[in-house]
């Protein structure tokens, strides 16, 4: 045994070893002591890297299979850890896939995570088996915890199940963010799915986590380019500069501007004055909601917003992003590199974005090489007549740098500046000439090459201030000393090209070169031949013999290119009699107009890719890259994004897909219908399936207390006509009630109750905070009973009491009234009488009649005072969107049964707070709780208050609404609501469940 312990220890398989020891120490007492010693060493060595060091040979997959099938969570966990360790070491453990899939239903969170991890790893190869797990994932998709919803969604997207995009309906930012990531992964071009969620996404964007923000902004950028029209069609990139003059960057006016509310006033003063063109309200919304994200701590988000502004904002607004991008340069060198790459492309298009930050691009001695190149390029792009002296001063500093590669790069940059800014061409040229005496060959060579380019650019410019003769003479002298071949070749080319300007010197240069011909580099030899040929035309008397001498040398050169050229020149220029037709054109072959050197920098080339994308950095199309489309000439129908009633919590979104639910609302709410059509478009084909699902849901919920078998039956039958199923359901429901009655011993008499809400107002909420309005606090509550003498003219409106309080110490608010209103269709606010003045410390009340015409959309309006206008929003509270309805017990029963088909129901466990009062008090407690929070009329109840019935009228649709609440067992409650206004019913159900579980 000791032997084997040693062996295992050598394998450093400590985990196993440990269990091994424990096992034997129990059985063999004789070895106990030795075992203890071993154990000590093991404990000392016990670090977490034991799985890492595990040699996989010791782990048998069959054993793991057995344990995974076993009952112990702990064993399973251990197995999964081993499996994951094996995966990460590259071993194929896919054969245990079936066993692992089974564990997907595990309750243990850690186990679940590990199983998810394993599944994702093998999902691609074991697609069939992976589908087994999908049911569980789908169940997880409606889990209460958003963490589980989000992670299940991610797993599903890796198994590539497309139809989960409906989760975009979710209102948790965590889930929404995950849904957006899944969108990018699964179907990045299905913009039609986004329409309905566009506004919600924009508004919630700030609450996403940083990673989802980046991804979402990327999607929205592309979305906006397909949906909106170009924000400044009259302005194109070229004449941005003239616009720049109009508003100075970051002037104070902008600060004033930022005071206005983010979302509620889409038109801002600045832009009103700036561009007459109208920007679509949704387009503006996107820009507005992204702007604050420039202040994000995440580099990726800042980059994404900058890219969005660059592509879809009016050019003048896109200027704003410059400042934030410059900030990123302070981060790590890696971030600096990527940001600089992007800036260098932006600068080629819109240099004025970064002009104010010129000095940020000056090079520090500690900058890495890749940043230096980019910074130099940006600096040359930013150069203008005004700042060029500063830039050149910096460049002078860099040229002297000890790193000669850096110096050479700088010389190229100087050349570029000289070429683009005529004012400095002369001084740059002289500057470069002074470098010709530099001790470093690299520097001199670079200077020569740049000078050559400059000379060529200015050759035809008669106004050019450069004295070509001087420069060329200077260069010619350099031939004596300079050794770098490329530079020598350049100089010889220059002398040949402009030999007519230095007629005295050129033949002499040729003479010297003829002497050294044999020792020159190949590129230099070719240029010497060229020089000879050119001089042959300009000055044949002096050079003819020299040229022949050179050609003769070239004929015996090692390099075939040079031999070729020499032979060709001989035929064309010297032995002309053999080919008279060709040699007649010889001059036009050797002396002609050379095209100007053009230089396309890589940054300019990169502009074909979207800024901030990976393709942009690597400058080729990375797989999965989607180019940005151009703005459409005519934007597509903007109404697809029209407001709709999104239901605040759509856990039961299965309801929303059912058309019949909305069938009787069609005339009023066409938008709504459109929405749900849109959402269910892709499911149209399997409409039947979704109905099945729906019915399953119904039967699931309404007869929750019936045995599971019945449930299964009804599911099977669901393929029959819908009506049949409904009937069956009714029967079941009735049976259900009877069952209940039996349970309580007798068929119960329902006693009449006439209790309406014990409170007359809802909870107070704050409409306007004092610190926003410089002291004016406005609270509000819904009034259930109108004060005497006041009548509500419209039944569809609710009465809201405003409590105004001046909390400031010296400010007096005058002329308080309602200002601009931003309301959805059909909504209305009846203004209160203007309040003349409100002294410090004073309070007053006002009544407001509001027709919401929606259960979720807030009424937005402004409170106008002498101090200023403050935007506020009134949100409808579901509990106040009904009013009590008096009916007697029989009538209640009749109506309740009549509305069978419009029923929603669910059951929950009652929360601890309610149970606290004991079983007897439970009924009363439930009753009071509901009445307090929902404006209902209690109609009747049985003796023990285990069954309570309520009636109410919905405010928006004035439909009757009936609620039945039954307490089952000790802590279960079944809530059933029936009304033709199903939306209200659904939301009320939710609200009640919430209250009861509290």
């Amino acid at each position: 045994m000791i032997e084997s312990t040693d062996k295992i220890k050598n394998n450093s398989n400590q985990a196993y070893f440990y269990w091994y020891l424990v096992f034997f120490s129990n059985k063999t007492g004789t070895l106990y002591k030795q075992t203890m010693e071993k154990m000590n060493t093991v404990l000392n060595n016990m670090s977490n890297s034991r799985y890492f060091n595990d040699t996989s040979t010791n782990v048998k997959l069959t054993e793991i299979k057995k344990q995974l099938d076993g009952p112990s969570d702990k064993d399973k966990l251990e197995c999964m850890k081993k499996l994951i360790a094996m995966i990460s070491k590259g071993r194929d453990v896919s054969e245990v896939f079936p066993q692992v899939v089974k564990n997907v239903i595990a309750k243990n969170l850690e186990l679940k995570k590990l199983v998810y991890m394993y599944l994702v790893h093998y999902a691609e190869s074991e697609h069939e088996s992976a589908l087994l797990a999908i049911n569980t994932f789908q169940k997880s998709l409606v889990d209460k915890s958003q963490v589980i919803r989000a992670s299940a969604l991610r797993v599903m997207s890796s198994i590539r199940v497309v139809d989960i995009i409906q989760l975009l309906n979710d209102n948790s930012t965590m889930v929404l963010g995950a849904a957006m990531m899944a969108f990018v992964e699964v179907c990045p071009d299905r913009y039609d799915i986004l329409h309905q969620h566009y506004r919600k996404i924009c508004q919630l964007l700030a609450d996403f986590d940083e990673w989802s923000q980046t991804v979402t902004i990327g999607v929205l950028t592309k979305y906006a380019r397909t949906q909106f029209k170009c924000p400044d069609s009259t302005i194109n990139d070229k004449n941005v500069k003239q616009y720049k003059k109009k508003t100075s960057f970051y002037s104070d006016e902008e600060d004033d501007d930022s005071n206005e509310n983010q979302l509620q006033s889409p038109k801002s003063k600045l832009y009103d004055s700036m561009d007459a063109e109208e920007i679509d309200i949704d387009h503006r919304l996107l820009l507005k909601s992204c702007l604050p994200l420039l202040q994000s701590r995440s580099n990726a988000v800042v980059m994404a917003v900058s890219s969005l502004y660059y592509y879809i904002a009016p050019v003048i607004e896109a200027q704003k992003v410059g400042k934030s991008l410059v900030r990123l340069l302070r981060s790590s060198p890696e971030v600096q590199y990527i940001t600089l790459t992007n800036i260098s492309t932006m600068v080629t298009m819109r240099p004025n974005m970064f002009e104010p930050y010129l000095s940020e691009f000056f090079i520090h001695s500690t900058d890495p090489e890749y940043s230096i190149k980019l910074k130099l390029e940006i600096l040359t792009r930013l150069a203008t007549g005004e700042n060029i002296s500063r830039i050149l001063k910096e460049f002078k500093e860099y040229v002297r740098n000890e790193d000669k590669k850096f110096a050479a790069e700088t010389i190229q940059a100087i050349g570029r500046c000289a070429a683009t800014i005529p004012d400095v061409t002369e001084s740059c040229t002289y500057g470069l000439m002074s470098l010709l005496s530099n001790s470093s060959q690299v520097v001199v060579a670079e200077a020569v090459i740049v000078l050559k380019r400059l000379l060529q650019l200015n050759a035809d410019n008669s106004n050019s201030s450069i004295k070509h003769e001087n420069v060329i003479m200077h260069l010619a002298k350099l031939l004596e000393t300079l050794e770098v071949p490329s530079a020598r070749a350049s100089i010889i080319w220059v002398i040949g090209e402009y030999s007519h300007k230095i007629p005295m010197v050129a033949p002499d240069v040729l003479r010297k070169l003829a002497k050294s011909f044999a020792d020159e580099d190949e590129s230099v030899k070719l240029q010497i031949l060229n020089l000879g040929a050119k001089l042959h035309f300009h000055n044949p008397e002096q050079t003819k013999l020299l040229f022949q001498y050179i050609i003769n040398q070239a004929k015996f050169d090692m390099n075939y290119d040079i031999r070729d050229s020499a032979r060709m020149m001989k035929l064309l220029l010297i032995s002309t009699e053999k080919n008279p037709s060709l040699s007649g054109h010889a001059k036009s072959i050797f002396i002609n107009q050379k095209p100007f050197p053009t230089e396309i920098s890589i940054s300019e080339d990169r502009k074909r890719f979207i800024l901030g994308s990976f393709s942009h950095i690597v400058n080729h199309s990375v797989s999965g890259y989607q180019p940005l489309s151009d703005f459409p000439e005519v934007p597509p129908d903007p109404t697809v994004r029209q407001p709709k009633q999104w239901v605040p919590e759509v856990k039961n979104n299965i309801f929303l897909r059912e058309e019949s639910f909305y069938s009787d609302e069609e005339e009023e709410d066409e938008d709504e219908d459109e929405e749900f059509d849109g959402a269910s478009e892709e499911e149209d084909d399997d409409d039947e399936d979704s109905q099945d699902e729906l019915e399953k849901f119904f039967s699931d919920s309404s007869d929750s207390s019936t045995p599971k078998k019945a449930n299964g039956k009804s599911n099977k039958k669901s393929k029959k006509s819908k009506k049949q199923v409904k009937q069956q359901e009714d029967n079941e429901f009735d049976e259900d009630m009877d069952d209940m009655d039996e349970l309580f011993g007798v068929a119960e008499e329902m006693e009449k109750l006439e209790i309406s809400s014990p409170t007359t107002t809802s909870v107070k909420k704050v409409l306007l905070k004092a610190n926003v309005s410089q002291g004016l606090l406005i609270e509000y509550c819904f009034l259930r009973q109108l004060p005497e003498g006041i009548e509500n003219e419209s039944p569809s409106s609710v009465c809201i009491q405003l409590l105004l309080k001046n909390q400031s110490t010296e400010q007096t608010f005058e002329n308080i009234k309602i200002g601009n209103k931003t309301l959805i269709d059909g909504a209305d606010i009846k203004d209160f009488d203007e309040i003349a003045s409100l002294e410090p410390g004073a309070t007053t009340e006002a009544l407001l009649f509001v027709t919401f015409n929606s259960l979720s959309q807030a009424c937005k309006f402004e409170i106008s005072t002498s101090i200023g206008n403050f935007p506020v929003a009134l949100t409808p509270i579901i509990g106040e969107m009904v009013s009590p309805l008096e009916v007697d017990v029989e009538e209640w029963k009749g109506c309740f049964n009549a509305l069978e088909s419009k029923s929603v129901s669910d059951h929950v466990e009652i929360g601890e707070k309610l149970l606290g009062g004991g079983q007897q008090q439970l009924g009363n407690a439930v009753l009071m709780l509901l009445l307090e929070n929902i404006n209902l009329q209690a109609t009747s109840a049985n003796q023990n208050k285990t069954k309570i019935q309520f009636a109410a009228k919905t405010i928006i649709k004035s439909a009757d609404l009936f609620i039945n609440i039954e307490l089952v067992e000790s802590n279960q409650v079944v809530v059933t609501i029936r009304s033709s206004d199903t939306l209200t019913a659904t939301l009320l159900l939710k609200k009640q469940l919430e209250l009861l579980t509290r």
């Binding site: 440990y18 969170l109 992670s151 202040q295 990726a300 990976f614």
Partner: protein, 413 residues
């Protein structure tokens, strides 16, 4: 997003590999090593993004560890860099400041669990340290032992029950007996000074680090004495941006523990707290060196930890210097002069001469001197905290410290 993640040691070992989308052979790292070696032989550092025939490699180097992300599809490169950085930050949070190869190996299980929790299918997932700590307990000796003996896991069974979503950076039900909050205002000066003593470029980058030990869900409001001078700011996600826009106050519910509240930039500062006057001239065979360092405009606050680095030209063969304050040594032709605290009574001076190799051309440029220093309880911008209001009932103990130090402080001689 990321296909795989490798954590590499400077020595060439692969410490951790994690694959999200199929296994990528670890030979992919060869591309990285090739690039790294060839870049280093030229005296520069490896490019952050490397293209290979099939994959793209994004790397960041922190201490002696490389984090190498492998990806195949289009995605935001900054997102990748940010994510790698965040992984590093979380490791620091769990395993302490000096992350190295052996620490990662020792905490192998934690590393895997963290990576697993932080990314899902290659997408960043749970990255808030507070949130992570709820699920995975940071390692310590006792828990390691316990885990080894009893087999209990360091993953808690419960999901964090804190209010998720909007404020996922703070859990509920935090309790401290003494409620304290500390603010550290740290300002760094980045500047280039030319040989005549003129400022070529100068900016101040500040950050506010907070160590928060407050009970409950405190809603804090912080006001500055002079918020208008902040030129550009970036915030922790907890800060309400609209309040800043409207009122120039910071309103936030802080995460628990240490975090970075904000970064800011201030431009237009010309009064530097330190001056450096270098006189370096090279002649035939050698050169003379004379560097003076002194403090000014510091409100009588002492300048500490002053450290001057002078890289002499490559042709230097010998350096012979003396200083009146602090010690100095020359290593690899770079002279490091550790002054420490600048004394009141005399001005630190370093003088002497250097010998250049014979026959080599004279260096054209004088070296750029890098300076480091630190001034405690002083902000170069004058920024300070005016007041801090807390929504909770208790009165928290508040502490504000400030420090100004050199960032990239470069003086051209």
């Amino acid at each position: 997003m990321l296909s795989s993640l490798f954590i590499l040691a400077d020595t060439g070992d692969i410490i951790i590999e994690k694959h999200w989308r199929g296994i990528i052979n670890r030979s992919i790292c060869e591309y990285f090593w090739d690039q790294k070696i060839s870049a280093e032989s030229e005296g520069s550092s490896v490019a952050p993004v490397i293209t290979t025939p099939k994959y793209y490699l994004v790397n960041i180097k922190r201490t002696t560890i490389y984090f190498l992300g492998v990806l195949q599809n289009e995605c935001s490169p900054l997102l990748v860099v940010d994510f790698l950085q965040r992984i590093y930050d979380v490791f620091i949070d769990y395993f302490g400041q000096n992350l190295n190869e052996s620490i990662i190996r020792d905490n192998f299980v934690h590393v895997y669990q963290l990576i697993e929790e932080m990314a899902d299918n290659g997408f960043p997932f749970t990255t808030e340290p507070n949130f992570l700590k709820e699920m995975i307990k940071p390692p310590n000796v006792v828990s390691n032992l316990l885990q080894g003996v009893t087999g209990t896991s360091n993953i808690s069974d419960n999901l964090p029950n804190g209010s998720l979503g909007a404020i996922q950076w703070r859990k509920t039900g935090i309790k401290y007996t003494s409620n304290e909050i500390f603010f550290d205002i740290i300002e760094e000066i980045d500047c280039i000074i030319d040989s005549n003593g003129f400022v070529v470029s100068c900016e101040v980058n500040g950050e506010i680090q907070v160590n928060c030990k407050l009970s409950g869900m405190p809603d804090l409001t912080l006001t500055f004495n002079n918020p208008r001078m902040l030129d550009d700011v970036s915030f922790h996600p907890c800060v309400r941006y609209s309040r800043w826009e409207n009122d120039r106050v910071l309103s936030f519910i802080p995460p628990d523990g240490s975090f970075k509240l904000m970064n800011y930039r201030i431009k237009g500062i010309n009064q530097l707290p330190i001056y450096v006057k270098p006189q370096i001239s090279f002649g035939e065979g050698g050169g003379r060196v004379n560097v003076l360092v002194g403090s000014k405009n510091t409100n009588n606050k002492p300048v500490e930890n002053v450290f001057v680095t002078i890289p002499f030209p490559k042709t230097t063969t010998a350096v012979n210097l003396t200083s009146n304050v602090g010690g100095h040594f020359t290593e690899d032709k770079v002279c490091k002069w550790n002054i420490g605290k600048i004394p009141k009574e005399k001005t630190p001076m370093l003088s002497g001469n250097v010998v250049l190799a014979a026959g080599q051309p004279l260096p054209e440029a004088n070296p750029s001197i890098m300076v480091q220093f630190k001034i405690a309880m002083f902000t170069i911008s004058g920024l300070g905290v005016d007041s801090l209001a807390c929504s909770e009932k208790y009165k928290p103990f508040k502490g504000v410290r400030s420090v100004t130090r050199a960032g990239k402080f470069q003086v051209r001689a």
